[in-house]
Amino acid sequence: MLSDSNSLFMRNVSFSYFNGLVLRDIDLNIADGEMVGLIGPNGCGKTTLLKLACGVLSPIRGEVSLGGISLKKLSRKQVAQHVAVVPQYFNIPFAFTVAEVVLLGRTPFVSAISGETKRDHEMSALALGLAGINHLENRYFNDLSGGERQKVILAMALAQEPKLLLLDEPTTHLDISHQVEMLELVKSLNREQGVTIIAAMHDLNLASLFFDRLVLLKEGTIVADGSPREVLTESSILNVFSASVKVSQHPVTSTPHIVVLPREASQN
């Protein structure tokens, strides 16, 4: 039903939970093969936007479509065969092994009656390899460190053979070396496997370093959309985050690099 094109279109999308709009009139087009970072302060609607993009939430106004087809016309299963989500964190109350968790990425392909096929096992093995965690296969998920768990969750998402991968703050619980490793991995999936990436990012410098395009959200609306150089300016950050910063250049990559100013320095 869905073609290989998996461009994501949001047209005039609004969403609210119980009180007040969380997202307001969002227009966003993301083409095949893009690598897009969503940035903005806590509660600006990044996670909600990701949930609308994979259809677990439906907009109260406007339309979200994938490859030209409205998400309303697709079943959860059909969407999950194209779109995978890496949540911030999850825990499992039972002692599943890594291999068992990653195989769950095949859920949208496995028939309830005939069970999983040889291809499902091949795809999970491939996903383990892509995430670089072949050696963890027989370990228990709950015994792993935060960084290792995050890779297992990524491998599970990759077992879904996603054309579009949504990540919700994939580096939040990781130390600095795992943050870089995780984003390198995501970038290589984008460059080598052609997976479209949309990630909510907390750390502006990492976002600047790894993403081609950044979308800046403030109180549920898009206030800037473009390359890191276009989006990460001193005025936009002051406006959106109410934080005084100095934007300089990264010494090696020349991408924008943000330095936080203490209050005294910014008053001078």
């Binding site: 299963k77 999950a80 949540p87 109350p93 769950l104 990425g105 859920t107 999983e116």
Partner: protein, 348 residues
């Protein structure tokens, strides 16, 4: 595939253990009958063979008209409760969930009690309103408890235990009130108490004929949900990301668990702890993969209850204990042990 072989070995061993337990349970009683004779007379009965009868004709009556009915009833109840426990625990991601703790049993019991108030001769035959009333009671209760316990998109252990306890207490109070005040129930007081304490009260093959297809069919349907139950173990949100229609399947699985509970309650009254302890014990040994867990827990639950029921009617013979007393005596200490363990392993 080593894993598949291991699963086959486990299931065959459990099935053999169940057959052994059934044989032993049929052999024991006021008159003991050698297991070999039981095998021979059973094979004769199904026209598979024609062994010379080395036993009294009365023995055959004891086996086929009394003991086998009861033993098979016990096996069905054990299998149904253990499978319901697996379903509730997997769906709610909560190793403490079981038909008893979640209040489903109490709901089923109240439904059954109300059905017993009706002056219908059918009420105790297994064909009557009891299973239907028990099913409705079970389903309404689990939905009530689940919604009370739900905080946002999560169902924390503590609130589930509390909601289950509160609802169970309320339903038990209503049940006591009915028993104290209703004339029809007063006449059936002995049966009612046996029902509440949990005892295998199966007397006719017709009861088995009605309930067995429901329980066996329910367990087979549960197997189709095994893969999705694994996905539910990651949380409802993740299950939705993996393409599961969460709300629809959740209701279906809760209904299936309630059906199994209701079937068990209609055969045995309130037998506690089987649905909690069996899934847990099996999970500790074989791991949490529901594709193996469901059939293994069903077989282990059946075996456990056959053994417990045999003890219940032989330990203090000729006095018969309600089997629910035995399962609680074994189950309660295990539950306490789990609660203490939980703090380390199931921290949310």
């Amino acid at each position: 595939m080593r894993k598949r072989n291991r699963a086959a070995i486990v299931l065959v061993s459990l099935a053999l253990a169940l057959i052994g337990a059934i044989l032993l349970a049929c052999a024991l009683g006021a008159v003991s009958i050698p297991p070999l004779d039981i095998i021979k007379m059973t094979l004769n009965k199904i026209h598979f063979s024609n062994f010379q009868a080395t036993w009294q004709p009365a023995d055959e009556t004891i086996i086929f008209q009394i003991r086998l009915i009861r033993v098979i009833g016990a096996a069905l109840v054990g299998a149904a409760l253990a499978t319901a426990g697996v379903l509730f625990q997997g769906l709610l991601r909560n190793p403490m969930a079981d038909p008893y703790i979640t209040g489903t049993s109490a709901g089923a019991a109240l439904g059954a009690t109300i059905a017993m108030m009706l002056p219908l001769g059918l009420a105790f035959s297994g064909l009557g309103l009891i299973p239907i009333a028990a099913f409705c009671g079970a389903l309404i209760t689990i939905l009530l408890v689940y919604n009370l316990a739900r905080v946002g998109s999560k169902t924390p252990i503590v609130s589930m235990l509390l909601a289950g306890f509160v609802v169970s207490s309320m339903l038990s109070a209503i049940m006591s009130l009915l028993i104290m005040t209703n004339g029809e129930l007063q006449l059936k007081l002995h049966s009612v108490f046996a029902f509440l304490a949990g005892s295998i009260s199966v007397q006719y093959w017709s009861q088995i004929a009605v309930i067995a297809p429901l329980i066996i069919g329910g367990i087979i349907i549960a197997l189709f949900f095994a893969f999705h139950l694994n996905a539910f173990s990651l949380g409802e949100e993740q299950a939705a990301y993996l393409g599961i229609n969460v709300e629809r399947e959740k209701i279906f699985i809760l209904a299936l668990g309630s059906l199994l509970t209701a079937c068990a309650v209609s055969l045995s009254g309130l037998v506690g702890f089987v649905g909690l302890v069996m899934p847990h014990a099996v999970r500790l040994v074989l791991g949490p993969d529901h594709r193996l867990l469901i059939p293994a827990a069903a077989l282990a639950g059946a075996t456990f209850l056959v053994v417990a029921d045999t003890l219940a009617r032989t330990v203090l013979a000729p006095t018969e204990l309600p089997v629910g007393i035995l399962t609680a005596l074994i189950g309660a200490p295990f539950f306490i042990y789990l609660l203490r363990r939980t703090r380390r392993e199931y921290a949310f």
